[in-house]
Subunit: 250 residues, 2 copies
Amino acid sequence: MKRIKLEVAYDGTNYCGWQIQPEDITIEAVLNQHLSGLLGEDIHVIGASRTDSGVHALGNVAVFDTESRIPGERMAKALNARLPKDIVIQSSKEVPLDFHPRHQDTRKTYDYTFYHAHYDNPVTSRHHHFVYVPLDVEKMNQAAGYFEGKHCFISMCSSKAQVTSYVREIYDCHVTQNGPYITMRVTGSGFLYNMVRFMAGTILEVGRGKKEPEWIKEILSSEERVPVGPKLPAKGLTLIGIEYMEETED
Amino acid sequence: MKRIKLEVAYDGTNYCGWQIQPEDITIEAVLNQHLSGLLGEDIHVIGASRTDSGVHALGNVAVFDTESRIPGERMAKALNARLPKDIVIQSSKEVPLDFHPRHQDTRKTYDYTFYHAHYDNPVTSRHHHFVYVPLDVEKMNQAAGYFEGKHCFISMCSSKAQVTSYVREIYDCHVTQNGPYITMRVTGSGFLYNMVRFMAGTILEVGRGKKEPEWIKEILSSEERVPVGPKLPAKGLTLIGIEYMEETED
């Protein structure tokens, strides 16, 4: 038996998120179905990030165990030939049998993308959040900087998040502009449920002038659940990639 | 009566192009339907560029005549409230009654976008053309430069194009790279049927090393129908905008 690690990209628009649901089509279910068909075994993937309905990914990670003799690095191409067009495996390789995608030190990177104009752009609207009010991008970037470091993020998650600690470390968070596209990119050790969407919504309040950048500092230092910006729509969010700190062979 | 000019953006994926077809859903038909509903008149738009099935636009132009007392600049918002999400009016304004979107001097700009990586990116694949072979972007840009000027483009159009002259003037054509995205942007006085898709396919042959940039010069100077690169898929093509030379009030 061997364990295979996949980097998985998808357009989340037509899926009810990653995790298997009884009635709905999910990324996990589609991967299981096509891997089982490809390998002639009953395959169950384990995902690193159970992204929500509508969230996109360029590099989510999944592993599965197989008896197949197909070399790990050739799985990607074989699987892509079977998958629907909105899911594309970016790489595949064999990893140690004790490699677990959620039980290891990682750096995850997410983008939240705004489209800022008078009217929406239908060509890219499946993967941006449209904003027409005036924005101060410099202030958004300043606000983003306050997220960096180790903080209690209890205000930046859905109240249904069940965790033992709300402390997370953000290595980098900044906002850049490319024409009408404004992107918040954040890299951290891990994220609470809906955390990036709340962070983006809170930074947006700063951008539109409702709050000053220092508001982020106040929220985080309060260490209790205080009002923050709105949870923004899933479609603006893309999981860019997950880096495993113990993997050095890549 | 007054004449209204619209700038129209759309994701062409789910439409059989601009022009009304007896059986299929087209941009023109959807605009007529919703404008007629909004204004309570039988409205027929005239489009500047009758884009093909699957081609996108950020700024196609259409005009229509109406008896409505709604100010021209307020039509966009009212119409957007009725249109499906994949068609968004970017602006609306009143123009002289003799303004015809196809009978005036214009500069049209198109982008043809490649995604260059080992595997496709499903998040943006509705609006790029995936290429995995090695590419020389510098040579692609050199090749693009040879399109500039006034030339006979008979080799760069579908043979069913029925026109009196194959001569067109290209004001600017260049290729830029932004990470995995490579874009050919071309601005010209007008374009023959499928011309930009043939230009992009021909530049791609140069990029992958099958031909040298000077090949473009040879094709154009032959002034007869000679073999060129393939017509690339519609989904990589976006009509960026149309500038009307006689309009100076914008």
